[in-house]
């Protein structure tokens, strides 16, 4: 059985859909893949800025920092069928840092889970796109998040469930660095290692900022790789804006004998000069004028 099934349709973005399990990026294709994923990333970034700009509220910083990670997951690594969101053999993704919903929504829309027009209704009364992911409203959202520190636990549960059913599916969870201060993260970390969940990969969006400032000033996360290793995870570190770096780490993670952590070094607000590393844009929408400026920058990129 080829769990990948047919490649999904990605609304004209082209596809880099993996067709075999345990696939490893072929170097001959690397350049093509890189270009596609960077193109997708730029499109998602523009969507994020526009969605939040139009909504007048939202979290641009942490949405922009994880764009490449989402692009690599949805357009390179994960087996999924946008036209059949409930496909039992799909890989699962959990956005533990739920406030990055705009980036997820944009990725899902580009995949074809729903119409791109929905994006502009973000956060409006009646919209299928809530401020934080709601699995009952948005096709492609596996579980509702928004309260930090719960998604990794949910991902553990999914990994256990899929393993029980002997399904070859993998589970991916994206957590924040600020979020890693939540004890729930470490409860999940311990259980995942104990259970040897080799079908679970977590990615940490290590952008160095939370709301009240730099993580190292608020509550220092210290040596994150050492922490995760001491909790029994295999750890890789990548440049979170280098798509091939991310893809290769996602490939390697499948070889791990237990749960696998990819610490992605990222820049909060990445791609928009005045948002980059700017803690103020954690949870503040750009003004109309800022939005236009950001879009121009991204267009030029």
């Amino acid at each position: 059985m080829n769990p990948a099934g047919e490649p999904g349709r990605y609304a004209g973005m082209g596809t880099v859909y993996p067709e075999t399990e345990g696939m490893v990026l072929r170097e001959t294709e690397a350049e093509e893949i890189r270009q596609r994923l960077e193109t997708i990333s730029r499109e998602i970034r523009k969507d994020v800025v526009r969605m939040i700009g139009l909504a007048g509220s939202g979290h641009p910083g942490g949405s922009l920092s994880c764009v490449e990670i989402l692009a690599c997951l949805y357009f390179y690594k994960m087996r999924h069928r946008p036209e059949e969101p409930g496909w039992p053999l799909r890989d699962r993704f959990v956005l533990s840092k739920g406030h990055a919903a705009p980036a997820l929504y944009a990725a899902l829309a580009w995949c074809g889970y729903f119409d791109r027009d929905e994006l502009w209704s973000l956060r409006r009364l009646g919209s299928m796109l809530q401020g934080h992911p709601d699995r009952l409203r948005t096709p492609g959202v596996e579980i509702s998040t928004g309260s930090l520190g719960q998604g990794l636990s949910a991902a553990c549960g999914m990994a256990i469930g899929l393993r029980l059913d002997k399904l070859p599916c993998r589970v991916y969870a994206l957590i924040g660095d600020g979020e890693s201060q939540e004890g729930g993260i470490w409860e999940a970390a311990m259980l995942a290692a104990h259970q040897g969940l080799d079908n679970l990969t977590a990615i940490l969006d290590n952008n160095g900022l939370q709301i009240d400032g730099q993580c190292c000033e608020v509550v220092d996360l210290g040596d994150l790789p050492a922490k995760w290793r001491s909790f029994g995870w295999e750890v890789q570190e990548v440049d979170g804006h280098d798509v091939l770096d991310i893809c290769r780490a996602l490939d390697r993670a499948e070889e791990a004998s237990g749960p696998s952590m990819i610490i992605a070094h990222t820049v909060k607000g990445k791609g928009v000069s005045f948002m980059e590393n700017n803690v103020d844009f954690h949870g503040k929408a750009p003004t109309r004028e800022e939005m236009e400026r950001a879009l121009q920058e991204l267009e030029g990129a």
């Binding site: 039992p88 699962r92 959990v94 709601d134 699995r135 009952l136 596996e142 579980i143 509702s144 998040t145 928004g146 309260s147 520190g149 719960q150 998604g151 636990s153 949910a154 991902a155 553990c156 549960g157 999914m158 990994a159 256990i160 469930g161 899929l162 029980l164 059913d165 004890g183 729930g184 409860e187 999940a188 311990m190 259980l191 104990h194 259970q195």
Partner: protein, 315 residues
Amino acid sequence: MAGWELRHTRDGYADALLELGERDPRIVVLDADLAKSTQTEKFKLRFPERFVDCGVAEQNLMAAAAGLAATGKIVFASTFAIFATGRAYDQVRNTIAYSNLDVKICASHGGITVGEDGSSHQALEDIALMRAVPRMKVVVPADYYEAREAVKTVAYLEGPAYVRLGRPKAPVLFGDDYRFRFGKAHLMRSGKDVTVIACGYLVHKALEAAEELAGEGIEAEVLNLHTIKPLDRQGILESVSRTGRVVTCEEHTVIGGLGGAVAELLAEEMPLPMRMVGVRDSFGVSGEAEELVEHFGLSARHIAEAARALCDLAP
């Protein structure tokens, strides 16, 4: 407690789990280092591959349960009532209930009858907490059989449910053929003077109180309100409209629990005199179960007193 056969409600849970596990491979059970107390250990021994001990980590227990349910499992998550509802409230609310997942939280050690462990282990607000969560169903079985049948029922109701089980053995009120009717107040005794609504361990106290009152010529109707949410509005109103008075009885704070639910209903639909038998907004203490029932004013004597006081009021 003389004259009653005694059995644990949590044994009813364990037996239901075995039955469910036997016939439905989707059943998965999670615990948080209390499998011996909650009795999920029986399931673990029979179906080890479908049991996961999450260790002393209730937050993870609940959010992981949600994730498991999202893969199509029917998940039972157990620990003590105080930790299931209080320690993991946000996980239950924001991950399980908001996602509307099939997680059945079956928690033991609800109420004051936890006994000697004392306040930190006596869940006195769990019904209030779970009742406040949208989409949550709240069930408080009174005996072994009701627990067993309730668990089998909620397993197949869509979405989350909370089932509160006790620590001590409870008087057996029903039999092997007991049919649990989710969402329906269960008439245990008819009467015309006052409606006594009780749940869980206090149902037999209510029956004893009714017996006591009967000797004085007061005919109490006793409802076993095993399902606290959704509330059987019609069933309660029907009884209360006949008797004109209500006493609620719960092994729980009088704030926001069964008494609160009934008070909210009556206030909007049929304002009538009511008395609440429950813990009067205080923490528990160590002591023997029955001693504490007496100490906190939850005994048959107290229920009868409340009913008497109501009946003394002008109608």
